[in-house]
Structures are given as structure tokens and as C-alpha cells.
Symmetry: C2
Subunit: 212 residues, 2 copies
DNA sequence: CCGGCTGTTTACCATGCAGTAAATTTTTAA
DNA sequence: TTAAAAATTTACTGCATGGTAAACAGCCGG
């Protein structure tokens, strides 16, 4: 089974591997270039300068600047979603808390590029208003994040730990506050925004969930 | 009186008036061009095409693209702030409500470009993370908006209409939710976001203020 | 050792763009 | 009326930028 897979899978997967490796390099270079210059002032040259390879390889792997950006979008969204995985099974209060923390502060383990990645994510997110295709990608992503929060709230309601509020509405509100705090930290440079948001959520929103 | 004013005011104010008129035309053209193309893809040519004048006049009135954008920033922020003026003096609950509504839905009178202006505002707001000067301008503006909400909350607490919560924290939270809803409507195209935000604020946040 | 395939580089190009300069019209101050 | 100043237009330029083409390197099967 494995053997036969390799027999005809070989050349294909080999190429793919080396190809994927380079593409990963390009993605990371794009990320760095984007961090430095911002989307508006991003030049293909800037990306090239962030790699050991020359900028022309990009044209070999991607079909122009737009295609590159589309791929990068998926790349950075995947990273985002990978970073908010949480061991569910814990009680709803703990899990909700953990999810909120991860959205606000990033993964526990020291991912020191977290805010740089958020910065880039957020910039692309805003620009998506001018691009239907990218907007659709972000909508899917947003829906998943929001959905995961709503889920936990529903779980808590079913278990009788939370009051019987409108889970959709509550999840939406929490997601919005998280988004705003992130935006404020990134766009306005308010370093304390996530912490403030957490306190505000605890104090004014979650008490609507808890006090029975 | 009028005569004497004209005597020494003539050359200066006339120039200024005609100059300001043209600059206003340029600002509005910039707004339209920005709405159509987005900041990233904004060309001086696009602005020219939105006016009766040729694009080169812009260079006469402004010192290049960056200077133009800086001026436009102040222009659109002034418009924003002009649109959230509210007759204070009403009771805190009503006034807070009115301010929230104006931030979420725009001025009462039919300003049908409201969301287009918000869209442009929001895009510039996000790009400001790459420009310290612009970021500072937005910070000042944000502080005024947030401050005006905090003020009303404080007023309500003093008058004993609201519970004695941390006004700063509460004002911040409300401002954040407003911001997020706007961002969601603009970036993700969620038409219902402002309405949802209003309901969520009423249901989950303001009840922390009211129930005494 | 060789012919073909993938991936990378070097050299180059077309053009879109902001900005300028000079000519022209309009306004202002006598 | 007139001359100078302000405002606008027409014509042009230099260069930054995305993209291409052809040469080149490494690898793999035979």
C-alpha cells in the first residue's frame, strides 16, 4: 500500500515538497515585507529582499502579485486558526475564557511574531472591502472564529452554567469586542487595549452570563 | 463696516476663498476617488478624473501626494466630528443613546454618503499603523470621541441615573463595540452589524448601567 | 554520460505613475 | 486700462515597478 503509493506518488510529491518549501520561504518573506512596508507600499522587490532567492522566483511559483496575495491570505488565516486551537472538554467558563485570551493575547507558547502577524492580518482584513474575493475568504474565517465562541456559549447554556441568553448575539458581541481591541492596539498603538478589553468583558459582559 | 473689511481684507480673503473653494473641490474629488479605488490603488489621475479641473492643479494647492492625504485626513475627521454633534442637556440616558446611534448609523438628516465616508475613514484609520504622523491624528480624534461618551456616562453617574461603574472602562467598551460593528459592516459587508451592535449594547452592556 | 525536467538567475523591457516646466487664462490692484 | 500675480492647462519627463525571456544549474531516469 505505502509502496504503491510512493511508486506513482514519487515525482509528484518530491516536486511538491521542494516547491512547497520554496513557497513557504516566499510566504514568510512576504510576511516580513508586509510588516515593514504595509500593504499599500509593498513591492515585489521588497519581498525579494527578504529572501535568499531572487524576486523572480516568485513569478515562477505564483501567477503575479494578486495571486501571491491571495495565497498569502490563506496562509496567514491558516496560521491564525491554528493558533486558537483549544483543548475543549473543559467546563464552559474555563473554555470561553481560554478562547477569549487566545484571541486577545495569542497562543500561550511564546510566539513573538504574534502581533506582527495580527498587524498584517488586520491590514489585509480592512483592505478586503475593495476585493470581493478576499472579502469572501475573510467572511468564512470570521464565521469560524465567531462560531467557535458561540458554540462554547451554547454549551454553557445547555449545561446550565450560563444564563439563557441569545448565544448568537452574545458570541457576536464578544467577537466584536475582541476585534475592536485588536484594531485599537494595532491601528492606534494602544498597547493596553487587549488587557482593557479583557477586563471590560469580564466586568460588563460575562456577568450577564454568570449571575443566574 | 463691510467696505472697510474689504479694503484690507480683500486680497487676502479673496485669494483664500477661491483657493479654499478649489481645495474643497479637490477634497471631495479625493473622497470619491478613494471610495472607488481604495487607498492602495489611489492614483493622482483618479482624483483628477473626479473633478472638472485637471489633476495638475492638485500640485499647485498641495505639496505632493502625501501632503494631500494628510490634508484629506483632517478634512474627513472634521466631517466625522461635525456629524456627531448632539444637543446635550437632555437626560443622560437619552443623550448616551443618541450618541451611540449617531456613531452607529450616522446623522439623522439624510446624509446618504455616510457609509462611503466611513468606509474611507476606516481604511485610512487602518493604514495609519504605518505612519506615525497619521496615527497621531487618529489618536487625537479617537480620544475626543471616546471622551464624549465617557463624559455622558460620568454625567449620568453624578446625577444618580447610572450605577457607579468605572466610566472610563464603560466608555471605552462602548466605543470599542461601535468601532467593531462599523468595521464589520465595512470590511466584511455585514449590513446588519450596526443594528446588532445596538441591540447587544442595550441588552448586555447598558443593563449594567441601569439596573440599580 | 546524456537529454529532459524543475527551479533559479541574470538581463531586460513596457509602461504607469508622480511630478515639473512652460504657456495660457483669469483675477486682482493700481 | 494695464501690469503683475494667481490659478489652471498643455505638454513633457524621469523613474520606479511588475513582469518577461533567455540563459543557466541541479537532478533524475536510463
Amino acid at each position: 500500500m505505502l509502496v504503491s503509493l510512493r511508486v506513482y506518488g514519487m515525482s509528484e510529491s518530491r516536486e511538491k515538497v521542494s516547491s512547497k518549501e520554496t513557497e513557504e520561504v516566499i510566504m514568510e518573506a512576504t510576511f516580513r515585507a508586509l510588516s515593514k512596508h504595509g500593504y499599500k507600499d509593498l513591492r515585489m522587490r521588497d519581498i525579494g529582499e527578504e529572501m535568499d532567492l531572487t524576486r523572480q522566483v516568485i513569478h515562477y511559483h505564483f501567477d503575479g502579485k494578486y495571486d501571491l496575495m491571495s495565497s498569502f491570505l490563506e496562509y496567514i488565516i491558516d496560521q491564525y486558526e491554528g493558533s486558537v486551537e483549544v483543548a475543549d472538554g473543559a467546563d464552559p467558563r474555563t473554555e470561553l475564557d481560554a478562547r477569549i485570551d487566545q484571541c486577545l493575547f495569542g497562543p500561550d507558547f511564546e510566539e513573538f511574531t504574534h502581533w506582527d502577524r495580527m498587524k498584517v492580518y488586520h491590514e489585509l482584513y480592512t483592505y478586503a472591502q475593495n476585493d470581493d474575493e478576499h472579502q469572501a475568504i475573510f467572511n468564512d474565517h470570521y464565521e469560524r472564529i465567531r462560531g467557535s465562541i458561540v458554540e462554547v456559549v451554547e454549551e454553557g447554556i445547555e449545561e446550565g452554567v450560563f444564563r439563557d441568553v441569545d448565544a448568537e448575539q452574545m458570541g457576536q458581541l464578544i467577537t466584536d469586542v475582541i476585534h475592536a481591541a485588536r484594531g485599537r492596539r494595532i491601528s492606534l498603538g494602544h498597547e493596553g487595549a487587549p488587557e482593557e478589553a479583557k477586563q471590560a468583558i469580564d466586568e460588563f459582559i460575562l456577568d450577564s452570563l454568570y449571575e443566574n
